[in-house]
């Protein structure tokens, strides 16, 4: 393996550099540096920047969504309270309307009742008048026939009959007059 050997292995000073190694190390590292700077670092930096942007963009989007949701919620709450007010207003109106209708109905019923009562009164008065008239005739006839029977004479004769009736009525009227005077 060792075709050539160094004579003074023991006196070797490791601090004294090998000139080729100095140059080689410098060149190899310089190449690595250039390659890394050109092809590795920009890629990593781009990835980091994109990732940061993606995260920040996501956060911004979330914030917008949150704001939108808040606005929507406020709007819905507003609508809900509007609807409540509307409902209350409608109820109130209905109650008022109902009261008015009831009052109107009551008045109508009362006037109707009054009218019916009035009508009944008129009818009763007319019927009474009619009854009085018919009674007067009937009572006359009855009385005449009763008197005829009691008197025992025929009263069929026209003249007689009317004379008797007139007499009777005159008696009645005089009676009534005295009665009235007595009152």
């Amino acid at each position: 393996m060792n075709s050539i050997t160094l004579a003074a292995g023991e006196e070797l000073n490791p601090l004294i550099p090998h000139p080729v190694e100095i140059v080689l190390s410098l060149v190899v590292f310089a190449l690595l540096y250039l390659a890394v700077k050109k092809w590795v670092v920009p890629n990593f930096e781009k990835t980091f920047a994109e990732r940061t942007q993606a995260i920040e963009g996501g956060l911004a989007a979330a914030e917008t969504k949150q704001a939108e949701a808040d606005a929507k919620l406020a709007e819905l709450n507003q609508q809900l309270s509007d609807a409540r007010h509307e409902a209350a207003r409608i109820r109130e109106e209905a109650r008022e309307q109902g009261a008015t209708i009831v009052a109107e109905m009551r008045q109508q019923a009362q006037s109707e009742a009054a009218r019916i009562v009035e009508h009944a009164h008129t009818q009763i008065e007319a019927e009474r008048q009619q009854a009085v008239t018919s009674l007067r005739a009937e009572v006359g006839a009855l009385a005449t026939s009763l008197a005829g029977r009691i008197v025992g004479e025929s009263l069929d004769d026209e003249a007689r009959q009317s004379r008797v009736v007139d007499r009777f009525l005159a008696d009645l009227e005089s009676q009534q007059a005295t009665g009235n005077g007595a009152h």
Binding site: M1, N2, S3, I4, T5, L6, A7, A8, G9, E10, L12, N13, P14, L15, I16, P17, H18, P19, V20, E21, I22, V23, L24, S25, L26, V28, F29, L31, L32, Y33, A35, V36, K37, W39, V40, V41, N43, F44, K46, T47, E50, R51, A54
Partner: protein, 279 residues
């Protein structure tokens, strides 16, 4: 274990003379397929393609390939590969780059810090990955270049921002101190901020990798020697050495990570210090 085999070949003929402890020579691998030698700073060195050189290239290729594949998809919800890639990239970008340099300027340095961290990390892990088992940065030359590079970068960044005089005033004149104390402190600050930093940066990584691997070789070879050549009574100690070898291997994994982290972290702190306004 390639080392152990290597050493075994070298040690076996001299076994009668006793145990040869591992040394710096173990880190001077011969070129693959042979080569020649040359003299440099009083040392004889191999000239040829060695294993740590190949490891360096392999590490760069693997790091790039892995992160390129992970980053390529760019999906919002990452898969496993992309997720691992993003965690690794995010770690260097945020924990090292942004937190230390500050969010105003850090993006310029992210590719550098990112490439540097994973390049060093994988090269360190090569010390523990089976069949490779050699930390590339136990070779001082490879670390020196990275340290010099970081020294150039942070000084250049500072000079560009504050101007030549302004930058050296920033780095060497501590604020809130007046009078003769400055005579003492200015040279000290200049030394520590401009001259010593690249040295400590390089030595910390290099020495940790060298020493850690040396320790592993010592436990592996020492245990082997005790088992093969030791007296009957000390043979169990060889087993114990191998158990310790396993434990230290785990410690090494931690150190390999920490050294890569510290190297890049200090880079970021130096850059941040050079960019700082008057402190």
């Amino acid at each position: 274990m390639s080392f152990a085999l290597n050493r075994l070949g070298a040690v076996a003929p001299t076994a009668e003379e006793g145990f040869t402890p591992p040394g710096p020579g173990d880190f001077d691998l011969p070129p693959i397929g042979g080569g020649s030698t040359f003299e440099f700073m009083g040392q004889t060195m191999y000239l040829g393609v060695t294993k740590p050189m190949l490891q360096l290239v392999l590490a760069a290729a693997v790091v790039f390939w892995f992160f390129y594949a992970a980053a390529k998809k760019r999906s919002m919800v990452p898969g496993k590969l992309q997720y691992v890639g993003e965690v690794g990239y995010g770690f260097t970008r945020n924990s090292i780059g942004r937190d230390i340099i500050g969010s105003r300027d850090f993006m310029r340095f992210v590719p550098y810090l990112f490439a540097l961290f994973f390049f060093i990390l994988l090269n360190n892990f090569f010390g523990s990955i089976p069949f490779i088992q050699f930390p590339s940065f136990s070779r001082s030359g490879m670390v020196y270049s990275l340290a010099i590079l970081s020294w150039i970068i942070y000084n250049a960044v500072g000079i560009k921002k504050h101007g030549f005089g302004g930058y050296f005033r920033l780095q060497s004149v501590p604020s809130g101190i007046k009078g003769p104390m400055l005579l003492l402190l200015v040279p000290l600050e200049f030394m520590s901020n401009i001259l010593v930093r690249p040295v400590t940066l390089a030595l910390r990584l290099f020495a940790n990798m060298l020493a850690g691997h040396l320790l592993l070789i010592l436990f592996a070879l020492g245990g082997e020697y005790l088992l093969l050549h030791g007296a009957a009574l000390v043979k169990p100690v060889g087993i114990l050495a191998w158990l310790l070898f396993i434990a230290i291997s785990f410690l090494e994994l931690l150190i390999q990570f920490l050294q890569a982290y510290v190297f890049v972290l200090l880079n970021a702190m130096y850059i941040s210090g050079a960019l700082a306004d008057e402190h």
